[in-house]
Amino acid sequence: MAMQEEMRQTALELTGDELLVAQDLKKYFPVTRGIVFQKEVASVKAVDGVSFALHEGETLGVVGESGCGKSTMARCIMKLLEPTGGKITFRGQDITKLSRAEMRPFRREMMMIFQDPYASLNPRKRVGFIVAEALQVHKLGTDAEIKRRVQELLEVVGLNPEHYNRFPHEFSGGQRQRIGVARALAVNPKLIVCDEPVSALDVSVQAQILNLLKDLQRDFNLTYIFIAHDLNVVRHISDRVMVMYLGQVVETADRNSLYQEPKHPYTGALLSAVPVPDPTVGRGRKRIVLEGDVPSPMNPPSACRFHPRCPRFVEGRCDVEEPALINRGGPASHTAKCHFPLERWPLTEAEMRTAGTAGTTETAA
């Protein structure tokens, strides 16, 4: 166990100029029984030992199925949830244990864009107020200055500044998400955590928001953590991608490396499951269909958590020994948490299944 702990740590090489570092981040939600004397009977390990480093101006994409802990991780980083364990460093400062008041100056530096543009804007407040709220909380300027700034922001995100006094219901989904973006930008943050910002939008509007986010990143040197379950979208916007499964990182790599040479069978299965909008390509290839559902994070499978669904499962290895998240071939920054990484990509279904044995001899040699 101690060795694994060490490996997790060493996998993260820090240079000191990272904007954000998360080390062995954990968030457990207690499961209680009883009404008066609540007894903790179990815990849901929503995030279980996630580490990553993020440089300024970079976009980190986070993908995984629903329930894999992506959003919980984001909320821990934002300190909207208190992490159970681990350490979060923002600009070299440990923010894990800061109180609400101590956290306030940091809140200006990190903002969030939420998934549902219909639920994340207060329907009773005018757009001007919604965007200005953060400015007022942080006392950034007089009322007149704030108003000018808000109008400027609305223009930046492609809305009419005249719409300052409108209510959220007067806008369409895409426009609302633009309001969400303007609100996040208001205090000039360094880091924006985007939690599925486009999954509720139609494709044509989704493209508008993705382009907007890219433009803003270029203009304001923003850093994004971009959470999505759509692998196409993540690929489009990210520099680095992290694949999560049941609260853990199973693979992380530069975008091209990850999409061209996935190492973890789970990443492979995800990639093969994405429909390709090209009838000739799409029908020629074979989907790797994962059996069953994501297991409950209350009682995760032993060792490698992916083993009950893995096409390359090797009994006696995968269910006994937990693989470390280390380099498994390819560029040094490409790490995967698997004993039997994929040799190449794409693989046929047979190779996907049988290569497990080939992998054993390889590691033995």
Binding site: S204, A207, K214, H229, P277
Partner: protein, 342 residues
């Protein structure tokens, strides 16, 4: 004769704000064993089209015209009893949201066997046996024990599979799937699509797949209808639509899709928002968002016409074919060049 032939279908809803033209002159047909994909953004009328065919619109507010011939019998004028006979046995529908389409207070097994017992004279025991068989077919582990579970004991993907099992219980000739995978993860989506394909092979049913995901359409559809603002913008065989798209809206949809196999710095975006169907734009309904708009587009609504030297490919746009061929080629070349660049 086609299994289902929809001609000039129109559905208008009376609302307090005026008449919403949800479907405005849609025609298509589906043959036995075929898969028809209907693509479009939310509000384009895809779902209402299918609800109208099934006779599931509210009688109070909806007015429909045109025809929907099911094996020669018009569903729009069929009496409610006949419709009930057809629904669930000959035509089945899978709804978008697996979380709300199952009744939360009844056991899965009861809901499944009800669907069967309504249409066929079978005993409870037989219906139950058939339910087990289907749950097994859709890949639910230990089906005989899961029959006595309630919907909340199933995950989203499993509930959607239960819905599919329910829709297949009477071996329908046509399965209408309204965004069956939209609420699901890619891995579950792959399971469901594989399942629908397999069942189609096995039972020879026709499928109408409603989706906004061009990827899904490219993978499973034979024919494609692209809908925009209650009208058909383009339709044809899947190869025609993807290899030689002829409508600026289809180009926009394809260009705005980030893809795994191509690298583009900026996505092509369609400007603006889909129009309100209370007051649809004059002329071509896409003209306020169209980059190729010409004066005629604002005046005259283009007819759905055949593309010359491409039989079966219909499109509704005023642009001349030369420009279209050029632009379509440019769009596809852009994707290809991205492919090589990556």
């Amino acid at each position: 004769m086609a299994l289902l032939e929809v001609n000039d279908l129109k559905t208008y809803f009376r609302t307090d704000d005026g008449v919403v033209r949800a479907v405005d002159g849609v025609s298509f047909s589906v043959d036995k064993g075929q898969t028809l994909g209907i693509v479009g953004e939310s509000g384009s009328g895809k779902s209402v089209t299918c609800l109208t065919i099934m006779g599931l619109n509210s009688k109070r507010s909806a007015i429909s015209s045109g025809s929907a011939l099911w094996k020669g019998e018009d569903l729009l004028t069929a009496n409610p009893r006949r419709l009930r006979e057809i629904r669930g046995s000959e035509i089945a529908m899978i709804f978008q949201d697996p979380m709300t389409s199952l009744n939360p207070v009844h056991k899965i097994g009861d809901q499944l066997s009800e669907a069967m017992r309504l249409h066929e004279d079978v005993s409870r025991k037989q219906a139950r046996a058939r339910a087990v068989e289907l749950l097994k077919a859709v890949g639910i582990p230990r089906p005989d024990r899961r029959l006595d579970d309630y919907p909340h004991q199933f995950s989203g993907g499993m509930r959607q599979r239960v819905m599919i099992a329910m829709s297949l219980i009477n071996n329908p000739d046509l399965l209408i799937a309204d965004e069956p995978t939209t609420a699901l993860d890619v891995t579950t989506q792959a399971q469901i699509l594989t399942l629908i394909e397999r069942l189609q092979e096995e039972f020879g049913s026709a499928v109408i797949m409603i989706t906004h995901d061009l990827g899904v359409v490219a993978e499973i559809a034979d024919d494609v209808v692209v809908m925009y603002a209650a009208e058909v913008a383009e339709k044809g065989h899947v190869e025609q639509i993807f290899k030689k798209p002829h409508h600026p809206y289809t180009w926009g949809l394809m260009g705005s899709l980030p893809r795994l196999d191509a690298d583009v710095e900026r996505l092509v975006q369609i400007q603006g928002q889909p129009p309100s169907m209370l007051r649809p734009p004059t002329g071509c309904r896409f003209h306020p968002r169209c980059p190729y708009v010409m004066p005629i587009c604002k005046e005259v609504d283009p007819e759905l016409t055949a593309v010359s030297d491409d039989p079966g490919h219909l499109q509704a746009c005023h642009l001349d074919e030369e420009t279209k061929d050029r632009e379509a080629a440019k769009l596809l070349a852009g994707m290809m060049s991205g492919q090589t660049a990556s």
